[in-house]
């Protein structure tokens, strides 16, 4: 009835889009990850839960190639991420991944519209075109009215939605969200989650959702619990 540690292979779903194998990472003497593994399939929302300090963010950073693990492998579409040099890895993050963090992720001096257009422009898109897509995404996330404002002039909920728009604007394959509602009240948090998950489903993007809030995790399709740097997943029979 139960399967501890790693989930059983679900052959029907094909190979995972993103996979972590036995990741270990220490900061000095503190082990943050101690053998964490997980799989993310295309289009699925995976919640990573666990108490604070358990290593969730570290796991996310390793998965996204922001930080190399001490040992273990991260495979994206079958290729090892940590083997890539910095340049291609940055490009991968820019084109295939999107990020939503808890707070303070928008460039404070750019307007919301420019913030959303930035990833496209970094990819070489013309300003007009990039800002057109950005406007579409802002509309979709119901924050078109803050387009010309700076993040400091928008509310927390609006800021997070702008951040979701920025994460989505490149139509990434994986969205990494680290406590995306952590700084928001319930209502705004719900709205951000609905919009985030809805947008991801529409574009068939996978979401790695780090959270310690069960209600946020309830937006996922599947959850992995991180405890003391180890990952753990429970399979319930129906």
């Amino acid at each position: 009835m139960t399967a501890r540690e790693h989930p059983t292979e679900q052959a029907a779903d094909g190979p995972p889009l993103l996979e972590a194998q036995e990741l270990r990472k220490s900061f000095g003497a503190t082990p943050a990850l101690d053998g964490a593994s997980l799989r993310v399939r295309a289009g699925e929302v995976l919640a990573v839960m666990g108490p604070s300090g358990s290593g969730k963010s570290t796991l996310l950073h390793c998965l996204a190639g922001i930080m190399p693990p001490d040992s273990g492998r991260v495979l994206y579409q079958g290729a090892e991420l940590s083997a890539l040099p910095d340049g291609p890895r940055s490009e991968l993050r820019r084109t295939e991944f999107g990020f939503v963090f808890q707070f303070g992720q928008l460039v404070p001096e750019l307007t919301c519209l420019e913030n959303v257009a930035l990833p496209l422009r970094l990819g070489g898109m013309k300003r007009k075109e990039a800002e057109r897509s950005a406007t579409e995404w802002l509309e979709r996330l119901e924050v078109a009215d803050v387009a010309g404002k700076r993040p400091g002039e928008a509310s927390g909920g609006q800021g997070q939605r702008v951040a979701v728009a920025r994460a989505m604007v490149t139509t990434p394959k994986v969205i990494f969200a680290d406590e995306p509602t952590g700084a928001l009240d319930t209502l705004n948090g719900e709205r951000v989650m609905q919009l985030l998950v809805g947008a991801a489903k529409d574009t068939n993007a996978a979401v790695v959702l780090v959270t310690h809030e069960p209600r946020v995790a309830a937006y996922s399709d599947r959850e992995v619990v991180v405890r003391d740097g180890k990952s753990l997943e429970v399979e319930l029979s129906r």
């Binding site: 963010s57 996204a64 940055s90 993050r93 963090f101 404070p108 001096e109 750019l110 930035l118 700076r150």
Partner: protein, 807 residues
Amino acid sequence: MTSLNDRSRGTVGSRGRGPGAALARWVGDLVLGVRLAVGGGRTSWVRLALTAVGVGLGVMVLLAATSVPHMLAGRADRGNARAVHFADEPSSPVPGVDAALVTQRNDEFLGRGLQGYLVELTGPAAPHAPGVSRLPGPGEAVLSPALVDLLKSSDGELLRPRFSQRIVGTIGPEGLTGPNELFFYVGADGMRSLPGAARISSFGSGQQSSQISGLELLLIILGAATFLIPVVVFVATSTRLAASARDRRLAALRLVGADGKQVRRIAAGESFVGAIVGLVVGAVMFLIAKALVPLISVSALRGGIFSADIRPEWGLVGLIIVGVPLLSVGVAVLSLRRTIIEPLGVVRRAKSARRKLWWRLLPVVAGVGLLATQGSKFANSSSGASETPVIAGIVLLLIAVAVVLPWVVERVVWSLRGGSPAWQLAVRRLQLDSGTSARVVGGVAVVLTGAIALQALFLPAQADADARDSGPVEIRATMNGTSLAEMDKFAAALHGVPGFAGAKVSVAGTILDAEQKYASIEIGSCAELAAHAPLPGCVDGDVFYGKAKVTRGNGQGQDHGQGEPKNNHVLVPTAGQPVWFSGIKDVKASTPPHWTIPAVKGTVQLSEQRSDGGLLLVTPAALAGVRTISVFAASNVKLQTSDPRTVEYARNALFPLGWNANVMAFNLVADGGNSEYLLIKRVLNIGSVITLLLAAASLMVVALEQIRERRRALAVLVANGTQRVVLARSLLWQMAIPIVLAVAIAVGAGLGLAALLLAVVSDHPVLFDWPTIGIFSGAGLVAVLGVTVLTLPSLWRAASVEGLRGE
């Protein structure tokens, strides 16, 4: 933030009555400010350290500047103390001192000045020369330590032949103007007959230092203002590091209920700490620099500077000690307007109100007005009364540059849009807060403005020096002698040096009659003398008198009659007249005449003009049998080589002839400095460079502070896959945009200031030295580039994963 609120509650909440309570509140607010400055953990310490270093650098430069008068005075005093008064009449004997015969020699070695005295003692009680325990006898020498070192080093190889004497001592610091000065006392004999030798009983002259002319004074004022204003700007900027973070903190205090006055007091307390620590750091840096200064041997410093000479002027030190904290507190308090009026906007990083232009133009108007109305008075009078308005005008205009620049930067930055992401990041960043960069860059702009204005002022003075510099190396070899044989040896030795083979040597002298009337003579073969005028039927033994060419209207006195000199000190030679050779000591009517002028074979017309009306042309045989003679040989050679050692070869070749032979090279004069302009210019250039470095350093400090403040945003950008080069480029733009604007304004303002000064204050034509302006502007841009490169490592560090972790 909560801890901040807790802390503030004690002062913000308490509202006692009475003067005691008010004072307690005051102190409480100040203490809170102090605690904000030091009590915020690592971040506050880093900020405090940066502020302290920034203020410290400024304080160090200010202290150094206050030391300049002492330093110059010390050098001048010691120079005067060893000076010799070369008067025609011997100085009155001092009882108990055996007078010495002294002549001064100015030499140079590979472009370094080399000076000293030839001395001949007449008895055991020789006069005292400063720093010298015993003056050298014949075959002995006393040298400065730097000269001793130079002789020992491999560089000194070519110099060694000139100092073969036994070294019997070194010159102490009280006899030198600087630690690296090359100076010597060489013992000699036979100087009685040496032209130009003085008989002295003591060294030292009560001479006044040379009077500074109007234009020179202007240069000094402009230079000092140029590099002191940016230092002050720099100090002010340093105390406002992390201004936006600090403003937000203070705005938060304001939001929890502090009133405007309290916020001002808290800010005052906070910046006061930085200023005080900065003063201490500055004093320490100054002491370190003082200890290191003697090691510097830049030729511009002419012999270096004694550590002991660097003594700040105490009154000015007091001014610095009081002024720097006042300045920093004043700036902190004055710039709080927005924090007090709209704290919410500050906390939320909203756009701020545009800067106002009108008051920024006041110094421009006042400065131009002062210069335009008062400048001409300055030009016409040499008294000090008219200096103040001109100084004020210059200072106002320089301040205006620093004051107008933030407005210009803001306006330009707001009108910029579009561009690459890097450009956009930079522009938006500047739009949000262009004040800090503009303030720093204001310092650079002031330096550049001043430097450019100085260039224009220097140009008239420099024009002929440049003309000379652009030609080939010109060498002038000279020798004083007491016999024609010596002159022949001189010519032979000179002709032996490669490149000097055909050099023309002219031998000349001056004769005096019993009434001290004088005439010039030139000695040479008929062929050599024919260069002055055709000499019909000349044979060796003949004497001709050449009359100078007559010119009109130069008021020199030879424009009457057929070259008949009006000047009644001039001797018109006549046959049989007894004469004495000038330049020999003890020329008196009582001594027997040296020579009797033979029959003059003819009077000829010279092709040149002369102030003494004529020239006696003498062939060698006419002087045969004359025992006492004083003549001077000179040869001017234009060399096509640029090898500086050629000159040294010539000097060494002439060395066996003694110290009477001298070789000078004209455009190798690296520190000849016969022009006061050169020295002033050099000092000011050094000052400008220091200030530019200072400005670059402060630019860097500001950049570091901004990076630290934006850590999280940077880290998120990198996490999102932003290329590092984009971030680097954005940093570069962020610094380059203000700098480019600063350079543009500085060039405009500098040229304008120079034109104004030259047109109104002095009547020189307006000329601009574009290459130098280019160099100064380029230096500003290079500074930006350098600062960017130096800042990159901390940018990378800030943009790492670390930045993603919560604050």
